[in-house]
């Protein structure tokens, strides 16, 4: 560990917050339907969409209608992606001549991209045609991110309203977030990345002759534009199998910094936008601080574990102070640690090093950050929405302990909100642990594992944790393109995405009808250090405690095995 390393981690993570702030101000204007500097360009396009779809953007929907529109939109998206992937072989723009995907792989991939997970049971450069990449996967990268953002917008309106009715218009939120936020920002970042050397082309690839005289096919795509939305939309699905460890996706430390910061920028922006909409900047600042503290702790933990001598190298009498297995030499341990925290804290799932090769506890921390429910800062909007659910639970528990009325941001927290908060939280362990428990005993599932013992268990756990949390990163040892894994992971992703979304919208529906209360002497202040501490406690207990027994059998046992092995060698 060096001070340069710590500084690099701190810079990467805090730069995202710093850029996210002004972006959040802009985003709140977009969600509120106010004028922005992009209006001259985007307003006509926006109107065109409304006219074409017959949508009245001013018509506020009830939470039922909002949720139904959201689900219907995503269902259609799912069928579209599924169809294109199945028919890939006969569709145009397929210079490599790839065949259509199998049924289970199409199912898994379609859900994966619709749910903003981008779990990939395939290697992109050897499976996907240019058309599939551009037409369905990239489109979903945009709209699935915007779908998450709509949830935060609806929830914010529920907190603002005083005995209101509607939570906003889903179609307007979706279209405005895509047109005003995602598209222009991706454009800027893509141009930046092209300038820094990322390929942006429609040709299939080039053929190179190596020094030994062998012929090598090097795949090329429109990488830069894909890379921009992959990061900004918190998607994470790379064009190449090696993801952001691949030199075409992430060639230099500078591109690494830009892309790593891009992961969290819009997640934080959604926090600030929520705060501005609800007129509760201080309360949202408390949420940001709580999330940032946990994220920084995660990155520090990974950095600490990765700068230990790996047992295998000690056994081979290699003098190593850093675990470089699975890491890119051009990034090193600190950049990898910052990335691991950023990508698992947000629901991104891109990797610039192999998570399976992290030290046992480092991999455990990556899993843990996902188990917390993707709120550090999570996906665009979906992260802040689940964070508010955590805040509701904290306010309720704390309120009972200190005898204060449970209120949050001027709205009383009652049985209905708690009910749906619990629903949003309960699905996480049910899917993560339930599927893992099943897979651990089914021979059909165990065929896909590369390792046995605790690392094998970590492979299983990581897959379902990543799928349910809509993260999409993987412990690379697992061969996931098999019917069992494709189907169950697909179900886990859909459950982990849409149940919490519906629960949050139901909370919004319950809150919107309530009167907005002015804070009284009996209100628990939700902007101070006490509340931040409480919130972190609730997040750790709700996210950590139920996974601890399972984690004890995976990463924790593996850690002690490694320690034992090192001690035996010395």
């Amino acid at each position: 560990m060096t001070w340069q390393g710590w500084a690099e981690i701190a810079l990467t993570l805090s730069l995202a917050v710093a850029i996210g702030w002004p972006l959040g101000v802009f985003m709140s204007r977009v969600w509120n339907g106010e004028r922005t500097f992009l209006d001259p360009v985007m307003r006509p396009i926006e109107r065109l969409f409304y006219a074409a779809c017959g949508v009245d953007p001013k018509k506020s929907q009830s939470w039922h209608a909002y949720a139904l529109a959201l689900l219907a939109f995503n269902l259609v998206g799912f069928f579209l992606v599924y169809a294109v992937l199945r028919l890939q072989g006969v569709l145009p723009l397929n210079p490599q001549g790839f065949p259509g995907l199998s049924g289970h792989l199409s199912f898994n991939t379609a859900i994966s991209f619709v749910t903003n997970t981008n779990w990939q049971s395939y290697a992109g450069e050897a499976t996907m045609s240019t058309l599939s990449q551009m037409l369905v996967l990239t489109v979903q990268n945009f709209v699935s991110a915007a779908t998450g953002a709509t949830v935060a917008a609806a929830l914010a309106r529920a907190f603002v309203a005083n005995r209101g009715e509607g939570v906003g218009n889903f179609w307007a939120d979706l279209i405005r977030t895509t047109l005003y936020v995602l598209l222009p920002l991706s454009f800027v970042v893509a141009i930046l990345l092209v300038a820094l050397g990322l390929p942006q082309t429609l040709i299939a690839g080039v053929t190179a002759h190596t020094l030994e005289g062998a012929e090598q096919k090097i795949s090329l795509y429109a990488v830069a534009s894909q890379e921009a939305i992959k990061m900004l939309g918190i998607n994470g699905g790379g064009i190449f199998n090696a993801n952001s460890a691949h030199p075409f996706e992430n060639p230099t430390p500078l591109t690494n910094l830009i892309t790593a910061v891009s992961i969290n920028v819009l997640g934080w922006a959604a926090f600030f936008a929520f705060g501005r909409m609800v007129l509760a900047k201080k309360d949202v600042r408390a949420l940001v601080i709580a999330a940032f503290v946990l994220l920084l702790a995660g990155a520090a933990g990974v950095y600490a574990t990765e700068t230990q001598a790996p047992p295998a190298q000690v056994a081979a009498k290699v003098d190593a102070s850093v675990n470089m297995e699975g890491k890119e030499v051009r990034f090193g341990a600190p950049a990898t640690a910052a990335w691991v925290a950023a990508t698992t804290g947000a629901s991104n799932g891109s990797v610039n090093g192999m998570h399976s090769s992290l030290m046992p506890l480092g991999g455990g921390i990556a899993m843990f950050l996902m188990q917390l429910g993707e709120i550090l800062p999570g996906g665009i909007g979906s992260g802040v929405a689940i964070m508010v659910v955590m805040a509701l639970l904290s306010v309720f528990v704390a309120g009972l302990m200190v005898g204060r009325t449970p209120e949050y941001l001027g709205k009383k927290v009652e049985a209905r909100e708690i009910q749906f908060s619990i629903l949003a939280v309960v699905i996480i362990p049910l899917s993560m642990l339930g599927f893992s428990g099943l897979a651990a005993v089914l021979p059909e599932a165990l065929k896909g594992l590369m390792h046995s013992g605790p690392h094998g268990l970590s492979e299983i756990l990581y897959a379902y944790v990543s799928g349910t949390a809509n993260n999409g990163s993987a412990f690379a040892g697992l061969t996931a393109n098999a019917p069992w894994w494709d189907v169950t992971l697909g179900i886990a992703m859909a459950l982990g995405r849409f149940l919490p979304i519906v629960a949050v919208l139901a909370i919004a529906g319950a809150l919107v009808a309530k009167p907005k209360l002015a804070p009284t002497a009996g209100t628990l202040p939700t902007d101070g250090g006490l509340f931040i501490g409480l919130l972190i406690g609730v997040i750790l207990i709700l996210g950590g405690l139920q996974f601890f027994p399972a984690m004890a059998l995976g990463p924790i046992v593996e850690h002690f095995q490694a320690l034992g092995a090192v001690a035996a060698l010395r």
């Binding site: 309720f396 642990l433 428990g437 651990a440 605790p454 268990l457």
Partner: protein
């Protein structure tokens, strides 16, 4: 909006029964109740303790099975003992919380059972036979004479008497009750001070004012507060989450080659679920009640404390006792209109209103005097607006008006 009625006298009378603290009798009764509450039908209302109860039962069965098979049962017995102790302690805490209310209810019930009514069996001669109060039926006629306690709720059909209603309303001066009009209703538990009345019983045994008061004190008839319902949901959800965590451990353990004893899993489950919050919630209520007692407020239960926290409007039927009862100007707030200053307006309005004799008029005069002597806050006031103290109006629900004579005695 939620509201509560405050009957000053009620509170004062209950005080005698409630300020005893944790007396031996209350504790003994609570200890007995703790065992009675092991009945699973009573436990289902608290999912956490119910789950603990089930695991306690299973661990007991496993301990018995181990003993029967002559195997080592020490661990199973120890787990069983811990779990039963947890359940019993939670029950005890709840019983103690309810115990105070129960003691008060018992004393109320005792007066009702021992009251003898004079049931008129022959209206022509007025012959009556002594009958226990709780055996009176609707429509029967009873005679109540000076010194008698009115046995049940009813309506006077003949006669007139002064009745001491302190037991119900806290009003120390007797009130006149007579047949006909709106002063004909009498309440069980009140005492006739002079003269006699004939009363037709209007409430079935078990639904009289006194009965409902007993039920309210006992907490048997009280609805759960929103917080309690929400907390039950939260605890049930947490219990479910940890149930998932423990059950899936079976599969994960099998993969890792660890054979997990169901007893150990059960114990782990109980360790994880929020037994403390679930079990000690009622103790938290007691703590709240005792804190209130320090500022001279009597709460009959922790639930009442919580309900009081949600009150945003207070309706009092004791305006004469608790407040001044007449409107007073405490401040003159300018309305954002007009062009002249407040003083001439105040003076003019006081001149106009002086002969009316209305209390608000005299307040206007007082405000004008204050303004004249320069004591009114805020110069440059452009108009006059009177801020009245939050007016306490005797609002009572219609059902209460018809059954409780307290309503007709309430004065503004």
């Amino acid at each position: 909006m939620s509201s509560i009625d405050i009957h000053a006298g009620e509170g004062r009378r209950k005080a005698s029964a409630l300020t005893g603290g944790l007396s031996g009798a209350v504790l003994a009764r609570a200890a007995k109740d703790a065992f009675l509450k092991l009945d699973p039908r009573k436990l289902t209302s608290n999912p956490v303790i119910f789950a603990t109860w089930i695991v306690a039962l299973l661990s007991t069965a496993s301990a018995v099975a181990a003993l029967a098979a002559h195997q080592a049962a020490g661990f199973a017995i120890q787990v069983a003992v811990w779990l039963w102790a947890t359940v019993l302690f939670a029950n005890l805490a709840e019983s103690v919380a309810e115990g105070r209310g129960k003691a008060a209810a018992d004393s109320l019930r005792a007066t009702r059972v021992t009251t003898k009514a004079k049931l008129i069996i022959d209206p022509t001669t007025g012959t009556y036979i002594p009958t226990p109060a709780h055996k009176l039926g609707m429509g029967e006629i009873i005679l109540v004479e000076a010194g008698d306690v009115i046995p049940t709720d009813g309506e006077i059909i003949e006669g007139m008497a002064s009745v001491n209603e302190a037991a119900i309303t806290g009003e120390s001066a007797p009130v006149i009750r007579e047949s006909g009009g709106d002063r004909s209703a009498v309440t069980g538990g009140t005492t006739v001070v002079s003269d006699w009345i004939k009363v037709r019983v209007t409430a079935e045994a078990g639904s009289t004012f006194l009965d409902r008061m007993i039920a309210m004190v006992e907490g048997a008839d009280r609805r759960k507060t929103p917080n309690e319902i929400a907390l039950a949901v939260l605890l049930a959800g947490l219990t479910l989450i940890f149930l998932i965590a423990v059950v899936t451990l079976l599969g994960l353990g099998k993969f890792s080659g660890v054979a997990l004893d169901p007893l150990v899993l059960g114990a782990l489950f109980i360790t994880l679920i929020p037994t403390t919050i679930g079990g000690l919630l009622s103790a938290v209520g007691i703590a709240g009640m005792d804190r209130l007692l320090k500022v001279n407020v009597l709460a009959t239960s922790g639930r009442a404390v919580e309900a009081a926290g949600d009150v945003d409007t207070l309706l009092l039927d004791k305006t004469g006792t608790i407040t001044f009862g007449n409107r007073m100007a405490t401040e003159v707030i300018p309305a954002p209109a007009g062009g002249s200053t407040a003083r001439p307006w105040l003076r003019a309005s006081s001149t106009i209103e002086r002969p009316s004799g209305v209390s608000s008029a005299s307040e206007a005069i007082r405000a004008a005097r204050m303004a004249a002597s320069g004591r009114t806050p805020g110069a440059g006031i452009t108009s006059v607006a009177m801020r009245l103290p939050k007016v306490m109006v005797p609002v009572l629900s219609s059902s209460r008006v018809s059954t409780s004579p307290a309503a007709s005695t309430a004065r503004p």
